[in-house]
């Protein structure tokens, strides 16, 4: 039994082996981009919105509102980043219902890549917002003694994000595979339903946590932000 789709090599392009993780990532990217292009190709002010455009507007505005609840003054770049995170993870997890499809998020490499992207995005957004000096000051707050702990906190954030998403998605896939061998006609359906639910929840949690990390780096530290560890326990 293969636990990671990284080990499944599908084909080669110019001598580069393409595994299932990368291939299915491209599938998800193609689905998201294709759907967006189809809906927004004739998007003009004089054309009344149809149901598909309205659906995309609801999704985008929903993401925007969630970000605005966390970050007081979010930039569009934060929407691009966090929204793409959510849509990619959610689409990957929802495509689990397609037979033969392996979610890229069940790969530790994918979750690591997403976590690294968040870990790298936090200082980038922080420096963009506060400047490099202002951002580095956050590591010695509230006192210089907290510098090592803050540095450790930055890395543990990435690790926690990686393991949480990977564990939930991979475990669901593994449990479904095990139950498929035990009760092939009943449990896989139930587990797929649970997988859809947990997949959406994980996409939401991953995105929210990433937004919290970025917004904490872009806004001044406040006493109320002590609630962040509680969210991290999700």
């Amino acid at each position: 039994m293969t636990l990671s789709p990284d080990q499944t090599l599908l084909f080669e392009i110019w001598g580069i082996a393409i595994n299932a993780t990368i291939f299915y990532t491209w599938v998800v990217m193609a689905v998201l981009t294709g759907a967006s292009m189809l809906v927004t190709r004739n998007l003009r002010p004089d054309v009344p919105p149809n149901r598909w455009r309205t659906t995309l507007e609801v999704i985008v505005q929903g993401i925007q509102e969630q970000i605005q609840e966390i970050a007081p003054n979010p930039s569009r770049h934060l929407l691009y980043f966090a929204g793409t995170l959510f849509l990619f993870i959610a689409a990957s997890n929802l495509l689990l219902v397609i037979p033969g499809f392996t979610p890229p998020t069940s790969s530790l490499s994918t979750t690591t890549a997403l976590a690294l992207a968040v870990v790298l995005a936090v200082p980038l957004f922080g420096i963009t917002s506060r400047g490099i000096g202002g951002y580095l000051k956050t590591y010695i707050q509230p006192s210089f003694v907290m510098l090592p702990f803050n540095i450790i906190s930055e890395f543990t954030r990435g690790i926690s994000l990686t393991m949480r998403l990977y564990g939930n998605i991979m475990s669901g896939a593994v449990i479904a595979a095990i139950l498929l061998s035990v009760a092939p006609f009943f449990f896989p359906v139930v587990m797929d339903l649970l997988g859809l639910l947990t997949g959406m929840i994980q996409a939401y949690i991953f995105t929210i946590l990433a937004t919290v990390y970025i917004s904490s780096a872009t806004s001044p530290a406040k006493p109320s932000q002590s609630a962040l560890p509680e969210k991290e326990t999700l």
């Binding site: 990368i22 990217m29 981009t33 002010p45 995309l56 790969s107 994918t110 890549a113 997403l114």
Partner: protein, 256 residues
């Protein structure tokens, strides 16, 4: 459970590409569309507010015009009513004047007709009276009226001869006029009678159609008349009395 760092790098690249693709084909068109729609809605709402203000101004202007029109209408109605009343009073006064004038004309006409009728009646009555008298005198007494009138004239002047001499003075001619020509016998009687009282007097005879039947004698400043005027006047008074009684009887039903 292992991490393939090549796959990690590829996935980071894929994720960055996906961010760019979704920014290009999803976020920017959708958000720009939303912004454009919000801007359009804002513009429309502002236009609606402006249109509402204009409508309110137009409504106020219209109400003011309506009030002005109602006031003018009321004024015109009052003026027309006053003119109508004045014209009605004028027409009524004119009608009253015309009726009064017609009534006066009618009264004058009635008086004229009445006078004409009375004159005609007087003339006809005189003629009828004379004719009946002559016929009755002829049938009952076998006498001629003119002859008897001549005898009567002679009889009447005898007692007043002294007065006639004074009135006549130096006049030595007498004029006897009658409605119709006297018979020669009657002229002889009169001439004889006058010459007995006034010797040598010349007597002339003349007829006057306007004169009442009878005889008139003019002698110097004296003038004597024996005509049927008084009888005809009595007859006319009697007839008028009867006519007045008949008019009262006709007027009574209208008064009721």
């Amino acid at each position: 459970m292992s991490i393939d760092w090549i796959t990690v790098a590829a996935q980071i690249g894929n994720f960055l590409v996906l961010i760019w693709l979704l920014k290009r084909f999803l976020y920017r068109p959708i958000l720009d569309g939303i912004d454009a729609r919000e801007s359009e809605i804002t513009q429309r709402m502002q236009a609606a507010v402006v249109a509402k203000e204009q409508a309110a101004e137009a409504e106020a202007d219209f109400r003011e015009q309506l009030s002005d029109l109602r006031f003018r209408q009321s004024e015109m109605t009052d003026s027309a009513q006053q003119q109508a009343e004045a014209q009605r009073d004028s027409l009524l006064a004119e009608a009253h004047q015309r009726l009064e004038r017609e009534r006066q004309d009618w009264a004058i006409h009635l008086d004229e007709e009445r006078a004409k009728y009375i004159a005609k009646l007087h003339k006809a009555g005189a003629g009828a009276l004379l004719s009946l008298t002559r016929k009755a005198l002829c049938d009952l007494a076998d006498q001629n009226l003119e002859t008897q009138m001549a005898h009567h004239l002679v009889t009447q002047i005898t007692p007043m001869a002294a007065d006639l001499h004074r009135a006549a003075g130096s006049c030595n001619a007498a004029l006897v006029t009658s409605h119709a020509a006297l018979t020669p016998a009657a002229q002889e009687i009169v001439t004889t009678g006058l010459q007995q009282q006034f010797p040598g007097i010349a007597v002339e005879y003349a007829t006057d159609a306007a004169q009442a039947p009878g005889l008139e004698l003019r002698l110097g400043g004296a003038e004597l008349a024996w005509t049927v005027d008084s009888y005809v006047d009595d007859l006319a008074a009697l007839i008028e009395e009867q006519l007045a009684a008949g008019a009262d009887l006709k007027a009574q039903p209208h008064e009721i």
